[in-house]
């Protein structure tokens, strides 16, 4: 592949409570993310075991691909708004995408 077709972006991954999926999706749209991908998850962290057994007790794992500026903006916004009261982990890493206009 011609490297000129490859573009650096960030991927922000948020693991949090399924209960706030709707709210969080709206937040991401408001922050102008071009899209997001959600998978159902379970796990353990400082707030104990979370699994999908009981209604909203499961986790979700949201990924957003975007540029560095937006990645920082998303991470900070979500951190400010949700960290204190919800089980949540946020991390970021580098990815290469093929169509820069999409993200």
């Amino acid at each position: 592949m011609n490297t000129s077709d490859q573009y650096q972006r960030k991927i922000v991954t948020i693991v949090t409570e399924a209960a706030i999926e709707t709210q969080l999706s709206k937040d991401l749209e408001a922050l102008q993310a071009t899209g997001y991908t959600i998978t159902d998850a379970r796990g353990k962290g400082s707030r104990g075991v979370r699994n999908a057994g009981w209604e909203t007790s499961g986790n979700i794992r949201i990924e957003v691909i975007c540029d560095t500026t937006l990645a920082d903006k998303i991470a900070n916004y979500v951190k400010e708004k949700y960290y204190k009261n919800y089980a949540m982990v946020i991390f970021m890493s580098d990815v290469v995408v093929l169509r820069p206009d999409k993200f």
Partner: protein, 293 residues
């Protein structure tokens, strides 16, 4: 051993629809307007119960404001599982109760949530009432119960004969499956019990007893039958573990969700199902005998 969550959800859906349909069919037999006083009275009870519980939780329980408000909301609302057990039990021992009780069940789901949020927040502008309303009124519980009521009402007894095998004949079998899963869930709350200690256990037993008294009193005031009075006591005594937790998690996120679930699911639900239901029926009988002669 746990039921797959989708099966648990399906079983809940069947129960909610069955209760709604059953209620709707019966409801069709009487003019709607005569029900309005009962409906209003029950809504008032739904506001009153959490308001009464809140100071106790705050003072005696030493809970944070948000936690006290959230637990209070759980106990002001109702548990459909508890009601379903009561329906099956009253059916088996052939106790009559008024046909509009499923309607009262629906009405009782909501006020406690509003009060819970107000207790936690005051009349703050921060609360997104529109998304609370969305959460509550489009939640599974209310949509299916109300949907069932309306369908049962419109279709009437003959209209429903063809769905009877699924919704009525299987009712108790499905309830059994539901209770099996609820028992497993409830027992997984016991860890929480150890953590939050004795007060939660005591509150989880005393609060429903107190609410049942109020429910019984209201039943007498509204001149319900013995069975209807007992059912109202059961509604009052039961604590929510589906609609209210979901609404509180979003509207009062600083409240600890395992605290209230431990109380309502780990203590009050099993207490009501095993001891409470027959007890409240006895209470209704005694109070009827005493006040009505």
């Amino acid at each position: 051993m746990r039921l797959p969550p989708q099966i648990y959800e399906f079983v809940s859906i069947l129960l909610l629809l069955a209760i709604g349909l059953k209620g709707g069919v019966e409801l069709a037999k009487q003019p709607f307007l005569t029900l309005v006083p009962d409906m209003l009275a029950v809504i008032v009870m739904g506001f009153a119960l959490p308001v009464l519980a809140y100071p106790v939780l705050l003072q005696l329980g030493k809970f944070k404001r948000a936690d006290a408000a959230s637990i209070a909301a759980h106990y002001g609302s109702v548990s459909v599982g508890t009601f379903a057990v009561a329906v099956a039990y009253f059916g088996t021992i052939e106790v009559f109760y008024e046909e509009h009780l499923p309607l009262l069940l629906v009405l009782l789901e909501v006020p406690a949530i509003l009060i819970g949020i107000l207790l936690a927040r005051g009349f703050s502008n921060q609360t997104k009432w529109s998304s609370v309303a969305h959460e509550v009124f489009l939640g599974k519980g209310i949509v299916l119960l109300l949907g069932g009521l309306v369908i049962g009402w419109v279709a009437g007894p003959e209209g429903l004969t063809s769905v009877e095998p699924l919704f009525f004949d299987l009712f108790k079998g499905i309830l059994a499956i539901f209770l099996l899963e609820m028992g497993l869930i409830a027992s997984s709350q016991i860890a929480g019990l150890r953590k939050y200690g004795l007060f939660i256990v005591i509150f989880g037993i005393v609060m429903p007893l107190f609410s049942a008294l109020i429910g019984c009193g209201l039943g007498l005031l509204l001149e319900l039958s013995i069975g209807g009075t007992a059912m109202l006591a059961i509604l009052a005594a039961s604590a929510s573990y589906i609609a209210v937790p979901a609404a509180m998690r979003i509207s009062v996120p600083e409240a600890n969700p395992t605290l209230s679930l431990t109380a309502s699911l780990g203590v009050t639900f099993p207490f009501n199902v095993i001891i409470g239901i027959p007890l409240y029926l006895e209470l209704a009988k005694v109070m009827h005998a005493f006040f009505k002669g």
